[in-house]
């Protein structure tokens, strides 16, 4: 599992995506363990092509599918589907075309912020506000359970004016 590597590979390839779910929570500082990376991706033909080409070298296959089930992760497959739970050489990756509580990529983008890492890697992260929306919409106990953590991060940010003003994570 290498969250940083998958994110950097997608970002460097110019794939339009927003990091959501457990990894987004951990980037915001929430102390929870997550096993897979969830991203919401833009459904434009160009982005789907880029996504398929970028992930191909990492042998994506369907997670939990019976062994031997034919699966070809290409533009056509992504175009005909929406959400995919994948295993790749770099770890488990969930691709979502829509996010509960927010909607598809353009709406998710509104609830995202840019993250810039060393070496100029830039990518987008669902905001704490966006995460709270998705967790409320999902409504399962495990989702509702993390809302106090997210609200605590929100309060810490607003209580720490310097961080808030600079937009630091």
């Amino acid at each position: 599992m290498n969250f940083e590597a998958i994110i950097a590979i997608l970002a460097r390839a110019g794939v339009e995506f927003v990091v959501i779910g457990g990894v987004a929570m951990l980037v915001h500082g929430v102390a929870r363990v997550t096993q897979d990376l969830h991203i919401c991706y833009a459904r434009s033909a160009e982005n789907i092509k880029r996504l398929a080409e970028t992930l191909a070298p990492y042998h994506p296959s369907l997670r939990g599918a019976p062994e031997g089930l034919p699966f070809c992760f290409d533009e056509e497959t992504i175009g005909h589907g929406l959400n995919f739970t994948l295993v790749t050489d770099l770890g488990d990756l969930d691709l979502l075309g829509e996010v509960a509580g927010i909607g598809s990529y353009p709406a998710v983008h509104v609830f995202s912020q840019e993250v810039e890492q060393p070496a100029g890697v830039k990518w987008r992260l669902l905001t704490v506000e966006g995460l709270i929306r998705t967790k409320r919409a999902a409504g399962r106990k495990k989702d509702l359970d993390v809302i106090p953590d997210l609200e605590a991060v929100q309060d810490m940010r607003s209580g720490n004016e310097d961080s808030r003003r600079s937009g630091k994570l």
Partner: protein
């Protein structure tokens, strides 16, 4: 995070304003000091720690499955 920012956060979590979401989270049992600890790390460090934790969890689940299968 600067030492001043950290100090301010530590004071805030020690005495969250009554009725605030921070106070509610503390009451709910959220370990606020762990959040402050994470916020001290860079984004890359948070991702690397998260990846390590995911690998450990996966290994533990594998051991648990193997142990169940042997019973």
């Amino acid at each position: 995070m600067t030492p001043e920012e950290k100090q301010r956060l530590l004071e805030l979590i020690a005495n969250p304003p009554p009725g605030s979401k921070l106070a509610a989270a503390k009451e709910y049992g959220v370990d606020l000091s762990l959040i402050v600890e994470n916020l001290e790390l860079s984004v890359g460090e948070r991702l690397r720690r998260g990846s390590e934790a995911a690998r450990s969890l996966k290994a533990l689940k594998g051991i648990a499955r193997q142990s169940q299968a042997e019973k």
